[in-house]
Symmetry: C2
């Protein structure tokens, strides 16, 4: 039960009822399509007449389409309804430090096209290049309308101003991406942190119907956490919730890029595995601690070496896995989510990493928590799928009431 916020509430009118029920209807079609009006009546509990009226409106507004006619042992044949994938296009953008991926999706979250560009260093160049590529994409895939552009960012977005406050891997600080893009594209733009994007992707994937508490952990050079609680993204005050990657795990670890000592991500990120590997090499050469001399092997190479049976790489990965599990135990103990999704290249080696992580969690967690831990296939592009969810949410999410 939510408290009504008297600083920003919304009274209801007659139309509110239709809005609520339309959204329920859209979600039911999304889940069960193709589906007849009669089935929708049963799923929703509304009257047949009401379902007819609502679907008529949704068809007129081109959200739904009538499709094939079904067959039943008796009685009039049902007309199936499904989402009108022609109606609306959605553009998704996944910004990462090196590469930015763009995609066009339809209403059913199917990708129609995809391309990548190098992420420009300068944020103004980025806006220029991105908007021209998006315009090209929209022209190449004509739809009756484009509902919006969702953007996943490796940084923090202020929830009030919607400005990008901080993006260490890009080197951008306090930049307004939304306004120039919206005026160039004439389409609403949604920004979200990458971990939040992954959490949204999972929430809207349909794989966890009924799971209202869901945590996504992105593991790359740093660690990000996106939280969905009670079916809703938790952004925290001014949008900075989820920085569990910078929770102190040890008083005497190496310094983190955030300036503090012993953050979780210093021990459990890809960069940590790279460091472990470099250290074990240096030790053999007697070069302990001389950071500058360490040859930095990319994390992908470490995974490859592990596959080839390399001992040092395997030990480095194992160490990273142990620490990853330690931090995940914190999330499970504290948040008790139904589902915890892991995102990142480390999932490619989950056969090895998973058991070590589970061991850490079992050792540290309080309850035999029911949390399911799910590694995401990197090919599934969780960040990008999340950007589509950002836009879909506006039409399929629960209406803002009271």
């Amino acid at each position: 039960m939510r408290k009504i916020n008297l600083n920003s509430f919304q009274v209801a009118s007659s139309e509110t009822v239709r809005d609520i029920n339309s959204r329920i209807m859209l979600n039911l079609v999304r889940k069960h399509q193709p589906v007849s009006r009669a089935d929708l009546t049963r799923y929703s509990g509304l009257q047949r007449s009401t379902v007819s009226a609502i679907t008529e409106k949704l068809i007129a507004d081109r959200w739904l389409k009538e499709g094939a006619v079904g067959n039943l042992p008796r009685g009039r044949k049902p007309t199936f309804l499904h989402l009108n994938s022609e109606r609306a296009g959605i553009v998704g953008v996944d910004v990462q430090s090196a590469v930015t991926t763009l995609a066009v999706a339809d209403m059913s979250s199917r990708f129609l096209a995809q391309e990548s560009i190098q992420t420009p260093q300068n944020p103004n160049d980025f806006v220029a290049r991105l908007s021209s590529r998006i315009l090209d994409l929209m022209r190449a895939h004509p739809k009756s309308s484009y509902e919006g552009v969702g953007i996943s960012l490796p940084g923090r977005v202020d929830s009030a101003s919607q400005r990008l406050i901080f993006a260490p891997s890009l080197g951008w600080t306090d930049f307004d991406l939304k306004t120039p893009l919206e005026s160039a594209l004439e389409v609403p733009v949604e920004l979200e942190n990458a971990a939040n994007s992954c959490a949204l992707a999972e929430l809207w994937s349909g794989r966890h119907e009924g799971a209202g508490n869901l945590v996504a952990v992105t593991v790359s050079d740093g660690i990000g956490v996106g939280m969905v609680m009670n079916g809703q993204l938790v952004r925290g005050s001014s949008g900075v919730a989820g920085e569990f990657g910078h929770v102190t795990q040890s008083q005497d670890g190496p310094e983190c890029r955030c300036g503090n000592i012993g953050c979780w991500e210093v021990f459990a990120s890809n960069a940590a595995a790279v460091r472990y590997y470099a250290e074990s090499s240096s030790v053999r050469k007697g070069e302990i601690g001389s950071k500058s001399n360490m040859a930095s092997v990319p994390f992908g190479d470490i995974l490859r070496l592990v596959d080839q049976g390399d001992v040092k790489a395997t030990l480095a990965l194992n160490k990273m896995a142990k620490h990853l599990g330690d931090g995940l135990a914190m999330l499970i103990t504290g948040l008790a989510p139904d589902v915890l999704v892991i995102v990142g290249d480390v999932t490619r080696a989950w056969e090895r990493v998973g058991p070590i992580v589970s061991e850490s969690i079992k050792r540290r967690s309080l309850t035999n928590a029911v949390t399911r831990i799910i590694p995401t296939d990197p090919e599934a592009q969780p960040r990008l799928r999340g950007t589509v969810a950002m836009v879909l949410q506006k039409h399929f999410g629960a209406p803002v009431i009271a």
Copy 2:
């Protein structure tokens, strides 16, 4: 924006509109009372006629009452409305290991009476004694109706079955409190973990209007965390969210009562300060580690000794404060709440403890988080106020929609 849960949703009907607007109205009266219909029109944005209709219904249902007539420089005098405190009584129960406190409150959350009993060891005895005392209280304070009984428990309540799963300080496991109490009292009973109760108390206190992200930390023999995110209690899967007290803070700490090593509460609870004090005494006597020989000084005595300038007690409290801050830094970094409330006897010494806690947080937290840290006056009985909020929620909370 919330995702609609297709496993349990609620369609809207015409009456839904009235339900939504009535609840907004009730909240506006609660916040601004005494308040005229004309003011409610301005606050709500509804039409004058609509406000009249809604208030008429609420008065007929005895939620509101007309009060005095106001004075204005011009025009017809407004009739003030206020909550009808006679209408409904609420019983709140704060169960702690030694003492259980009962209270009767009115709709405006004012306490009318209060009493304490020793908490019986046996849960069946507890139910018997509690229900007879509650019936006495309700008879002594007749109201047109009793809306419910809210109970704060030092343990975990399963969110689905509403059974008390685990209460270490009481020694009860998997017990159904709700059913027997409800059948004895013929009034709905709400159960909640003590930290959650404190979070609800703060949420509904009216002190933080607009703050949707709020964390309560209870510090006693253990540490509990109650989280409100997006204006709503976060219970997690099966109701076990918030066990941050059992997050591992150090690999090599003493064993926790949960069986793990180095949990936060082992370092930062009242029991920790007691242990620190005992250890420092033992050290002087050369009795390191011989637990059995340590005289256990109650935490209250340590606070008293600190007041009297005792050095060992002060050092013990300082150490506890440092570790308390370390854990709070985790919560602030990870959850970024608007408000973080501290509950427990330790707040009595906040003049001393506060700066140490702030220092720990400043050293460990990532951002200059905007979180306000607020110690609660123990006299304010946060757990008990939360029990009233549990019941109030049902009428003043946002309606369950979609």
